[in-house]
Structure formats: structure tokens, C-alpha cells
């Protein structure tokens, strides 16, 4: 093979590589490479020539990740509009947080339960009334757990708690499109203690009013 043929072949391969790369690449997403700078899989002999060889010298790559713009994955249109379906847009866009107005309305739960206790219903009703008379506001409901469950179980349970509150608000006439939920599991305790007195304060749902800046 002479030099010219070789060059031509390389150019052709390059064009094919670029072409196939572009056609598969979704917009606004950092492509995830098929491999990494080494021959070993992470489950295998990384110390023997894998990307982490030399350890601390690579730390920069770990501590400075590059973010890419988020994207909407879209919602199945056949499911949209159900009262339990969460809204698709970001309710926080253009709004500021008001954590004070409903501080006293924090809803508390029984251990390992997401049902609303009758003692908590009036707190939720007051929030519903406020939302009905303040059309400009939206609401985030934060769900939390005590530390006695396992972590991911608690993350789901705390979301279930926030959703129970949201469903109550919707039943009281608040538009489902104005209320979103944020689950924190056991990661944001209100009380750092390790007894029932602390746990009972940590099993909770908090109301964060989202209001336009001019009205705050």
C-alpha cells in the first residue's frame, strides 16, 4: 500500500467515524464514551494499568466534573392530566422560596406510615385555602423520614408522604399542576437526636411556598 492510498484510507475512516458519531448523538448531552483510558474493567485489575493507576494524580478528573444542560424526557401524553401525575414543568422557575409562611403547618407522620393523621388535616386545609386565594403561588411539599429505615427505602417513603399531602391538597380543590414533591429521606433531619422525641419531629412533610419575586 503506498502513502497516498494509506492517507486516503485514513481520511475515509475518519469521515465514517465522525459521520456515525454525529448521527447517533442526542443534543445537549455529553456523550458517554464506550471505554475509558485503560484496558481494565472497574471490576478488575485497575491497579495494573487502568485509568486510576497512580491514584491521587487523577483526582482532578474526579473532583471537577463538567455538567451538561438538563433535558426534558417528556411525559407520556396518555397519562397526562391525571390528578396524581406530577406536573412536567419546573414550578420553581422564576419563583422564590418562602419557608416561613407555613412553618407551623408541618405535617407529622407515624413511624413507617404515609397516611395523613386526622390531627394534621387542618394544617393541610389552611395551605389549600391560601393557595386558592393566591393564584400566583405554587407549592413544593418536602417529605422526610426518621433514621430508622434503610436509606433508599426512606427516600421512597418520604416521597410517598409528600405525595399523600399533595393528594389531600388536590382533593381540597388545589390544581395538581401547582404542587410538586421533593423527597429527602433521612438526609435532612429537623432534629439530630437519636430517640423517639427526635424521630417524631423528623417524620414530616414541610410546605415551601413558591412565589414570584415581586410579590414576596
Amino acid at each position: 500500500m503506498n502513502c497516498l492510498t494509506k492517507l486516503g484510507l485514513i481520511a475515509l475512516l475518519a469521515v465514517v467515524a465522525i459521520g456515525s458519531g454525529c448521527s447517533k448523538k442526542p443534543k445537549n448531552i455529553t456523550p458517554i464514551p464506550n471505554g475509558y483510558n485503560g484496558s481494565a474493567a472497574p471490576g478488575s485489575d485497575l491497579s495494573q494499568g487502568g485509568a486510576l493507576r497512580g491514584g491521587p494524580g487523577n483526582s482532578g478528573r474526579f473532583t471537577q466534573p463538567t455538567d451538561t444542560a438538563p433535558r426534558e424526557l417528556g411525559i407520556d401524553p396518555s397519562k397526562a392530566g391525571g390528578s396524581n401525575e406530577l406536573p412536567s414543568g419546573n414550578l420553581r422557575d422564576g419563583k422564590i422560596e418562602d419557608r416561613e409562611t407555613f412553618k407551623a403547618n408541618t405535617v407529622y407522620f407515624e413511624y413507617d406510615k404515609s397516611a395523613i393523621k386526622s390531627s394534621e388535616l387542618a394544617k393541610i386545609a389552611a395551605v389549600a385555602e391560601h393557595l386558592k386565594s393566591h393564584a400566583e403561588a405554587s407549592l413544593a411539599v418536602e417529605g422526610h423520614c426518621d433514621e430508622r429505615g434503610t436509606e433508599e427505602y426512606n427516600r421512597s417513603l418520604s416521597e410517598r408522604r409528600a405525595l399523600s399531602i399533595r393528594e389531600r391538597l388536590v382533593n381540597l380543590g388545589v390544581s395538581a399542576n401547582r404542587v410538586t414533591t421533593e423527597a429527602f429521606g433521612e438526609d435532612k433531619p429537623a432534629d439530630l437526636g437519636h430517640d423517639e422525641s427526635a424521630w417524631s419531629k423528623n417524620r414530616r412533610g414541610e410546605f415551601i411556598l413558591l412565589v414570584p419575586p415581586s410579590l414576596k
Binding site: P42, G43, A51, L52, E151, S156, T181, A183, K188
Partner: protein, 384 residues
């Protein structure tokens, strides 16, 4: 395999395999098996420390030569060297030198060779783990060697980062981060630092885990109004809802053939383990022999076992046959993750935001803590 090494392997297998392999599957859920006594002679400093740790994690007891079934002898070289001897007949099983890399990696490689020669199974001393560390405010994801050495902080978002899971066969993680104010799932390539949001729906996006064949992600999403199990393509596209319970699902894990997902649901009031076809269908309760409050399942890579956490006041690790049956309590702790050898488990123990990671050798029940970073560590994931 070349003929001499094949013959050597067969000879080794005939000589020593029955000592460990015979009752392994029976013993994993029964009584603890005995450790294999080994003498480790002539090593000093880091090499001695690493060899002792590695071998004890894999079911050996480091003892004086007079009581040993095997002896590992150091050589004269500046690099780590090792001669493994069967003390019964004084036959050497191998004599090797480990040039290159750090003393630490040389010693890990040697201990892997000892494990391979004695048990016939590949070692795990050069594998990685990822975990969540509570630094007293921020919760970040770390990556380290399996013994906790060479810890890297993979995230620095000063937010809550949780539930790291390795992408099989890749130096990449999925994890949940609150950097956007709520739980979203990110994909993070550790070699390049490139990161992208994979699931960012309103509500809960968490517990993402990639199928062993690398083609799909199982994840908990609440976008339909309840925390349900969903399966998407590997890039997060085309999410399909697998469960529709009113109650919450959590912690999915995959069978090694990527066909079945085991997860937690409290559909019937108490947390229990369920399985479902990854393509959809009925969710089926997995029998755990009457044990309630079962969470955090992890399927062993050989497909035989599911380890899980019973959360009932205390956290206890259990192992149950993957088809269901009687569950066996193994040790106090939570959130098990199997190594690729289907024998060793990394898990969390301790309470009160002072948790640490430990390694469990299931057959011998031995537990050893990994090197600690400051902070409370949990949610380990073993790369495999």
C-alpha cells in the same frame, strides 16, 4: 491455557479444592465454615499489612507456620515476591515476583494469586467500591479500592449525593444528587469527569441501577404519582413503568442474566422483596421464610443468592436463595453489595451518623472494617 499450567491447576484443584469448595453453597446459608490457616512469613510494612488484610477477608486465618495449611514466603527482591507452599507435602504451588506498580498493588496481586491457587476463584483485592459519605453537612460520593485505600471524592457539589451504583464493566457511576434542589439521577464518567442528568422528572428520581448486560436502567420514579419501579434505555430514554402500586417501591437490583429485577415494595403494608420481569408483568413476592421488613436486596453475580437488610429496630443482613426460601441472618448491618466472587459483601454498620463500611466473608462470617475516611459512610456499591 498452556499444558503445564493446566496440569498445575488440576493438581492444585485435586489437592486443595475440597477444603473449601465442597460445602460452599450449603454453608453460605448454614453454619460458618472454618477459615484456612495460612502463614505469611518474611513480609514487612505495607506488604505484610495488605496481605494479611486481603487473605483474612477471603476466608484465611493468618497463623504461625507450625499451625498453617499453607505458607506464603517472601522473596529477596525489592519488589513483592511470593512462594506459596502446601505445608502438608511441602510442595510449592507457585513462586512469583510482582514488579511494577506500588507495593500496595503488588501485594494485592499476590494475594489474588494465593486465593486463586487455593480456592480456584478469582480474587477481589484489586476491585473498587463507591459509597456515600456524610461529611457533616454535604454528602458526597467517594470511590476507593475495595479496602478503602486510595479514596477519591467523586463529587464536590456540597449538596446531598446518594445511592451510587457502578455501571457494569465501566469506570462510571449512576447516583442521585440534589444539586438541582431535588433528587435527580446523574451519570458520571469517572475517567473524563463528564456528567449528565439521566432522570430529572418532577418528584422522586433515585435508586438507579444498570442491568449487568449494560443495556437498561432500573430506577424509582414518582412522576406518575407514586414511587414506582421503571425501566429505561441505558441513556434514560423510553422509561417504562413496571409497577403501579399506591405504596412505595425502592432499591431495585438485577438478576445476572438481566431478565429479572428484585425490589422492595410495601404494597402489603410491610416492606417485602418482590421480583418482576424486566420487560414487565406481575410483581411476585419473594419468600423470605416469614422475615418481615426486608429492604435493600442485592443479587449475587452467580445468580444463586439475594442478600438484603431486615430493618426492624436494628439492621441485620440476611441471605436468601434467589428463588425464595428460608432467609439466614448473617450479621448486624445494612445495605449489602456483593463482590464479583459471589462470596464477599461490602455493607454498612454502626448507627447515629457514625457509620462505617465493612467487608463480610459470607462463608466464614468474618467481618473486617475498610479504611475509613472522615465522615459517616454508607450505601456501598461494589464494582463488578
Amino acid at each position: 491455557m498452556k499444558l503445564p499450567s493446566l496440569l498445575q491447576a488440576m493438581a492444585i484443584g485435586a489437592a486443595v479444592l475440597p477444603a473449601l469448595a465442597a460445602g460452599f453453597d450449603a454453608e453460605i446459608s448454614g453454619q460458618a465454615v472454618k477459615s484456612i490457616p495460612i502463614a505469611v512469613t518474611g513480609y514487612t510494612g505495607e506488604a505484610a499489612q495488605v496481605l494479611k488484610f486481603d487473605l483474612e477477608v477471603l476466608g484465611f486465618d493468618v497463623v504461625p507456620a507450625a499451625k498453617a495449611q499453607f505458607e506464603l514466603k517472601a522473596g529477596a527482591g525489592s519488589e513483592v515476591q511470593g512462594t506459596l507452599i502446601d505445608t502438608g507435602n511441602q510442595h510449592p504451588l507457585f513462586a512469583r515476583s510482582y514488579p511494577g506498580g506500588s507495593v500496595r498493588s503488588q501485594a494485592h496481586t499476590l494475594s489474588d494469586d494465593v486465593v486463586k491457587a487455593v480456592t480456584g476463584n478469582a480474587g477481589i483485592a484489586r476491585t473498587k467500591i463507591a459509597y456515600k459519605a456524610d461529611l457533616g453537612g454535604a454528602k458526597e460520593v467517594y470511590v476507593s479500592d475495595y479496602d478503602g485505600a486510595n479514596a477519591f471524592r467523586a463529587t464536590e457539589d456540597r449538596s446531598i449525593t446518594a445511592s451510587p451504583a457502578w455501571v457494569p464493566g465501566r469506570l462510571a457511576l449512576l447516583y442521585t444528587s440534589y444539586k438541582g434542589g431535588k433528587p435527580d439521577v446523574y451519570s458520571h464518567d469517572l475517567a473524563t469527569g463528564a456528567r449528565s442528568r439521566v432522570f430529572g422528572f418532577n418528584g422522586l428520581n433515585t435508586s438507579a441501577t444498570v442491568s449487568p448486560d449494560g443495556t437498561r436502567i432500573a430506577v424509582i420514579l414518582s412522576k406518575a404519582g407514586s414511587p414506582d419501579l421503571w425501566v429505561s434505555n441505558i441513556d434514560g430514554t423510553n422509561p417504562r413503568q413496571l409497577t403501579t402500586t399506591k405504596e412505595s417501591e425502592s432499591s431495585p437490583c438485577w438478576s445476572p442474566d438481566s431478565k429479572t429485577i428484585c425490589f422492595v415494595s410495601n404494597r402489603d403494608g410491610k416492606a417485602a422483596l418482590y421480583t418482576i420481569s424486566a420487560g414487565g408483568g406481575e410483581m411476585r413476592k419473594l419468600s423470605t421464610g416469614g422475615i418481615l421488613n426486608c429492604t435493600e436486596p442485592d443479587w449475587s453475580p452467580d445468580g444463586k443468592w439475594i442478600a438484603f437488610t431486615r430493618a426492624a429496630g436494628e439492621f441485620t443482613l440476611y441471605v436468601v436463595p434467589a428463588g425464595g426460601g428460608d432467609a439466614t441472618a448473617i450479621t448486624a448491618g445494612e445495605d449489602p453489595s456483593w463482590a464479583r466472587n459471589s462470596r464477599t459483601i461490602v455493607f454498612t454498620r454502626g448507627r447515629d451518623r457514625a457509620r462505617r463500611l465493612s467487608l463480610l466473608d459470607v462463608p466464614t462470617r468474618r467481618v473486617k472494617d475498610v479504611n475509613r475516611i472522615s465522615g459517616s459512610c454508607s450505601q456501598p456499591s461494589w464494582a463488578r
